[in-house]
């Protein structure tokens, strides 16, 4: 079971869904805070759902306020970076590039891709955390006491 958890985590890194920031967060866990990363992840998905909603609404309105969109995306990129959401972060960067170029079509296209990556990551992490909980605390990296 624990091996399975380790393999899943490895594949998430290998496929570029997560980067070393995720590992850095796992290293902050200990006996007193064994679910820290899962808690951060929950906060991240709740917060980013709100941002996605805001951006969706802004895009639906049709008038492209690139400054506002860039501002939303700056927040999105920030929290994605903090949790190690590598692919999502890349889409955020691309979106911001299109914003700065005033390219509405590019923004729309990238945003669809971003939502896909976000949704995929959410499912994968939910699966990972579920298994990690079942397997017990051994597999996630822990700080020695």
């Amino acid at each position: 079971m624990q091996r399975q958890v380790a393999l899943i985590k490895q594949s998430l890194f290998d496929q570029g869904y997560l980067d070393e920031q995720f590992m850095a967060l796992e290293e902050l866990q200990d006996d007193a805070n064994p679910n820290f990363v899962e808690e951060v992840s929950a906060l991240y998905f709740k917060d980013s759902a709100r941002l996605i909603n805001n951006i969706d609404q802004a895009l639906e309105r049709g008038s492209f306020d690139f400054n506002r969109l860039d501002s939303y995306m700056h927040q999105f990129k920030g929290s994605s970076t903090s949790i190690g959401a590598n692919k999502v972060k890349a889409e955020c960067t691309m979106f911001r590039d299109y914003c700065r170029a005033g390219n509405a079509e590019g923004c729309l296209r990238t945003f669809q891709q971003l939502k896909k990556e976000h949704s995929t990551l959410r499912k994968k992490l939910e699966h990972y955390f579920q298994l990690a909980r079942q397997a017990g605390p051994k597999e996630t990296a822990r700080r020695p006491k």
């Binding site: 290293e27 991240y44 929290s79």
Partner: protein, 210 residues
């Protein structure tokens, strides 16, 4: 007790200085809920007391700098360090830094800026305004540990200077045969690194990274 005075020094008869460090109380300011959670964890692991707020305005409110005198009972818990995000809606981290450095009560509190953007002019601007350091996000545990050491060392230096000069005064009081008039008491034995010098070397360290 002066702001920033954290360390209590015990001076036994032998003259050996020992330090019993109490915990630093850090005020962390960030509009991102994810980043607040992370910085809080990093600080707690580094044995700091942490208070998080989600904006510069709230930070000023907490410190009692928003014009509401005596608003917070929590002010009794002195803040030893402020760590703030740069890009925040409303008051930016830079604005907050300026307000703190403009305040006679709080300007001695070290302020560290965090930013996801590695913009040299931004870093320069903050260091020039008196920021203790500038951290690139995502902030690492090593960054926090380093900052903490820096702050604790500075506090210790300040404590040492003031307690050494107090000790000297005590000693002089006992010497009644001394004929010397007020000699200039040179505290050069205790190096008090002026903050501008510290910042300069920090800036040089940063520039050398590019």
């Amino acid at each position: 007790m002066a702001v920033g005075e954290v360390m209590r020094m015990e001076i036994p008869a032998g003259g050996d200085l020992t330090v019993t460090p109490p915990e630093l109380h850090v005020l962390a300011v960030d509009d991102s809920i994810v980043d607040r959670k992370v910085i809080e964890r990093l600080l707690r692991i580094s044995a700091c007391k942490v208070t998080t707020v989600d904006s510069g305005a709230r930070a000023l409110q907490y410190l009692g700098l928003d014009g509401n005198k005596g608003a917070s009972d929590l002010k009794d818990l002195k803040v030893n360090l402020i760590v703030t995000d740069y890009s925040m809606p409303g008051l930016t981290g830079y604005d907050l830094l300026k307000k703190i450095k403009e305040s006679s009560t709080f300007r001695e509190i070290p302020v560290v800026i965090m930013s996801s953007e590695n913009i040299l002019t931004r870093i320069e601007q903050c260091l020039k305004e008196g920021a203790e350091d500038f951290l690139l996000k995502p902030v690492k545990l090593a960054d926090v540990k380093r900052i903490k050491q820096l702050i604790m060392r500075n506090e210790a230096e300040e404590c040492k200077t003031s307690s050494l000069s107090n000790k000297r005064k005590l000693v002089e009081g006992n010497i009644d045969t001394s004929s010397s008039s007020s000699s200039s008491h040179d505290d050069s034995s205790v190096e008090d690194i002026p903050s501008s010098k510290r910042m300069k070397s920090e800036f040089e360290n940063l520039s050398s990274l590019h």
